[in-house]
Amino acid sequence: MTTIITEKTTTEEVNDSAKKAVYETNQLNLWYGSNHALKNIDLEIMENEVTAIIGPSGCGKSTYLKTLNRMVELVPSVKTSGEILYRGRNIFDHDYGVEELRTRVGMVFQKPNPFPKSIYDNIAYGPRIHGIKNKKILDEIVEKSLRGAAIWEEVKDRLNENAYSISGGQQQRICIARALAIEPDVILMDEPTSALDPISTLKVEELVQELKKDYSIIIVTHNMQQAARISDKTAFFLNGEVIEYDQTDTIFSNPSDKRTEDYISGRFG
């Protein structure tokens, strides 16, 4: 049919050639004991983009996210095969220091988890661990990070208050600021708004849009509309496999795999 009918040209074609890959995952397999949790994953994640990972519970999306900064290794009995290249280097190489990786790859979790310390100390924690003692430099980092997380104006007069004294939405942005303080390259977000009210969710979503100018963001979300709103690319995981990975516009308007369509349309999951 297509040969005899003129298909209108679209402007959707996105030229990725100018962008670099921040992560290249090649034939990644992961087992928790005998449970084969990730199966032959091939994914290329581009810099300065928001990449959403969606899929039903237990599909392996959080496992994949935690593999990107090797946090998954905290679970006993984990085995992996294949490779994940971060900026061209395999993070599973024996001489690749996990601390080095985690200074480049920050993480924000489902529930806000500030340290039971002041707002200031939460942000200064990472830089201090990395040896920065100078108060003036720490002050600058704290302000820059809080501004970067769009919360400076709300907390600038309360920096010495305990981080638990502010709202959940503010705590989550403090956690994002804490991730920014170590000047990472990538930010991993594991359902960062699932415990937040709609207004706080909107603030975090807007923040993600801002942050992608300077960082590459990978976000696991159960909220389909959130993935559609804020991401550039979306990967759909099912039973440990990547079923479809494409431009978010394509995934949510015309996915090529029926399982993707069924999931995003709420037919299962």
Binding site: M1, I4, I5, T6, E7, K8, T10, M224, Q225, A228, F252, S253, N254, P255, E261, I264, S265, G266, R267
Partner: protein, 219 residues
């Protein structure tokens, strides 16, 4: 009923209403032409009066679809189906409007003896109605092969339209006293040609629904 089942029930209801709307619009087009041929002013008035039912049903479908989009945030095929439903409803409502226009021209012509070009306009009507019926069937069956054939019929309608206009212009030179009816018949043939175009539009919408891409069937 699960939320998904409820959504599908609403979606199917909108589709059924769209089929009803389409049937009403095509029936109005047929009735308006019959009124013209029989020079039946009462039948023409009935077409004009019945058009409000078509308009109301189109609004009803639009409201249902808007509510579904607002409440369910549909994506992919579900979303395309809803958007296409609104667009096809709009096309069919226009066909209903053309029927009204033809009915108004019929009233203007009154009991004047009809010019022979009416026969070709009848041929146009038969083709346009066949296209509309076919596109409704194709829509129900989601049959894009059938939809493609509609575009080919549209070429025949366009050729007939060109021919009718040429002959009407010629008749104008020969019968200057009939210029009023000649103008009215030219409008009527235009409405038939436009009705056929709407059938082609709907066929394109069907391609978009099934394939998720835009196609131009007029080339």
């Amino acid at each position: 009923m699960s939320l998904r089942e409820k959504f599908e029930f609403e979606l199917n209801s909108a589709q059924e209403e769209l089929i009803t709307l389409s049937t009403m619009a095509v029936s109005a087009l047929n009735k308006s032409m019959e009124a013209l041929i029989r020079q039946d002013v009462d039948a023409a008035l009935e077409v004009i009066e019945d058009d409000q039912d078509i308009n109301q049903l189109e609004e009803f479908i639009n409201d249902r679809v808007i509510l579904l989009i607002a409440k369910q945030s549909p994506v992919a095929t579900d979303l395309r189906r809803l958007i296409v439903t609104i667009k096809v409803a709009s096309d069919m409502e226009r066909v209903g409007d053309y029927a009204v226009n033809i009915a108004k021209e019929t009233i203007r012509i009154g009991n004047q003896e009809l010019l022979p070009q009416i026969e070709q306009i009848q041929q146009m009507q038969k083709l346009a109605v066949a296209m509309l019926h076919q596109v409704i069937d194709a829509f129900v069956e989601e049959d894009i092969v059938k939809a493609k054939e509609i575009a080919e019929l549209d070429d025949q309608v366009d050729d007939l339209y060109g021919d009718v206009i040429r002959k009407l212009i010629q008749a104008g030179g020969e019968n200057p006293d009939k210029l009023g009816q000649i103008t009215q018949l030219a409008f009527i043939s235009r409405y038939m040609e436009r009705s056929a175009d709407h059938a082609t539009n709907i066929a394109e919408q069907l391609f978009y629904l099934v394939r998720g891409r835009h196609y131009d069937l007029n080339k």
